[in-house]
Assembly symmetry: C2
Homo-oligomer: 341 residues x 2
């Protein structure tokens, strides 16, 4: 291991105490001569001193680790990190955390108890939870009082948590209004009805769609199930001129299903997704969607983590704005007849 260089090694070599070296490292140089400071710094550099987190962890109470826990829901079939939304969030979090000097430890689990254990054993400085929207945060909060922020969670009465969410309702509303403006009158809503956010997105859609009619297809959480569901509801689907799926993945998949069955998109049916994943650009036609900025949410998360650390107990919720991103999967309907089928 090319024997680790420790503070005591540096101290001994210079005939100083470890306290002095430690103080230099932390910039507490008020009571140390410039001369000494320079000598210490030079040797630290020369010997390539790298602090041992083991010692720091024990001596202080902060670890610089942020635990990011993703809910390993069955719907992902063991591939959570491959989900476009999850990986985009993780990516943004990784860069923001590193920028703030944190380390990111990742865990995937369904088990709420494991989250506590995970946080506790590593003395986490904070936690970020993805996909635990309907969980009981109160328990977590009781067990430990480190800051943790939840993506797409909700605020309980006693407001003991930081919730970071996007304006799902408005996103849906924008889609509804847009389709309406493009001349659509009958739209299919596609959702697995699982995550809390879906409800809001659809409610928003209905508002924006005005007097347009909506149908609702509740699809299962596995791909094969969804394809089967589409087949079984073939008639209903063909009654619509547009579809709004609550995620890009579902939207792309639905487009794919339509195309496979000879229905061209957007000529025959227009499709809109949600999230603005990378796949929106690579599918054909490019998918119109609602964009959420993973980078911005990650920045907010890190900011919240810091703020909650400083004045703990203070808590906030942040609802980030979303924005319709128009691409090629929606067509304008001009003909009045066509509109009625």
């Amino acid at each position: 291991m090319a024997e680790r260089v420790r503070i005591v090694d540096i101290a001994q070599e210079l005939g100083l105490s470890t306290a002095t070296v430690s103080n230099v490292i932390h910039g507490k140089t008020k009571k140390i001569s410039d001369e000494t400071v320079k000598r210490v710094q030079a040797l630290l550099e020369e010997r390539r001193y790298i602090p041992s987190m083991a010692g720091i962890l024990l001596a202080q109470n902060d670890s610089r680790i942020i635990g990011v826990v993703v809910n390993d829901h069955e719907k992902y079939e063991g591939k959570v990190l491959e989900d476009a939304f999850v990986s985009a969030s993780l990516n943004a979090l990784l860069f923001e955390l590193e920028r703030a000097g944190y380390f990111m430890m990742v865990k995937a689990t369904k088990d709420w108890g494991e989250v506590v254990r995970f946080a506790s054993m590593w003395n986490m400085d904070g936690m970020v939870l993805l996909g635990f929207c309907d969980s009981d945060y109160k328990k977590l909060r009781e067990k430990m009082h480190i800051p943790f922020v939840v993506y797409d969670g909700f605020i309980e009465e006693n407001r003991t948590i930081c919730n970071l969410t996007i304006d799902n309702y408005d996103g849906g509303r924008q889609v509804g209004a847009y389709l309406r403006r493009m001349g659509h009158r009958r739209a299919m809503l596609i959702s697995d009805n699982d995550i809390c956010v879906d409800q809001e997105r659809m409610a928003g859609f209905r508002e924006g769609f005005l007097d347009g009619q909506t149908d609702f297809l509740e699809v299962p959480m596995n791909r094969e199930g969804r394809y089967r569901c589409y087949k079984e509801n073939w008639e209903r689907i063909q009654m619509c001129t547009a579809a709004f799926a609550v995620s890009d993945v579902y939207a792309a998949e639905f487009m794919h299903f339509l195309q496979e069955h000879g229905i061209s998109v957007p000529e025959k049916i227009s499709v809109v997704g949600f999230d603005d994943n990378a796949l929106c650009e690579t599918c054909f036609p490019r998918l119109t969607t609602v964009g959420q900025d993973a980078g911005e949410r990650a920045r907010m998360a890190v900011y919240a983590l810091k703020r909650l650390r400083e004045d703990e107990g203070d808590v906030f919720e942040e609802i980030l704005p979303v924005q319709l991103i128009v691409r090629d999967s929606v067509r304008r309907i001009t003909d009045e007849k066509e509109r009625q089928e």
Copy 2:
């Protein structure tokens, strides 16, 4: 924080020494009466004792942390974790590591020095490196002698590293042979020529394609650049009946480009990718590709990590097999005329 329960708390409450409690925890019960063992276990359970890694890290020399470092290459434009191959690898690694009782700490960087620092400060039990195929491992090895495995790396003369790779050459060969069997005679190879693996995939392709003719399009690493490149080489592209891109992302993108310009896939041009990402199933037509099993590679990685830990110095390379996955993006050419254009 609901005050952490420590070993000493348990010990005191039972009137025992910390050593005894620690021994019970680690199952070293040879010299402890069954009676005592039970009492200790019961209290550990009741008080919900969670070990502090801080103490363990310092007392022993292993941290149970595996650092996973991904090369934050510019080509990803700050979104490494969103790359389909990276996220699939990470997902598989996460589950395998957890299964083996490890914790996964992730880092994205281009800087080789940071890798050393990262590993050293956390006393990592091992490292997994993604995308550092052309780096100088020797340096890393000098700095510290923890096991580390490299995805798609290479073995140096003095064999001081574990390389985990797939049979890129054979993958390419299978594609070439398949296209040839399907009646194709002119194929375009698409690659950014960056990562070492590309060379092998293309070399393999040429072998499998036999007397078929290949053209080669070296594309830039950013999306806009690639689209421009396709446009500029419009003529050359149209000379071919098939294209083999070195990754699914490039393949899907290329399909998209073709469709946008009125060339249908696979009727006019067939396309094959590499990796078997999730997008293969969601793009239209579904992409024929070469499958690599991220799960299998992750299992090997964890196995290697363990083995190298036990008898350090011993090193191995593993070349995992790949397999052609036929979907809908390749068409059989029967007409002899058509084959010649």
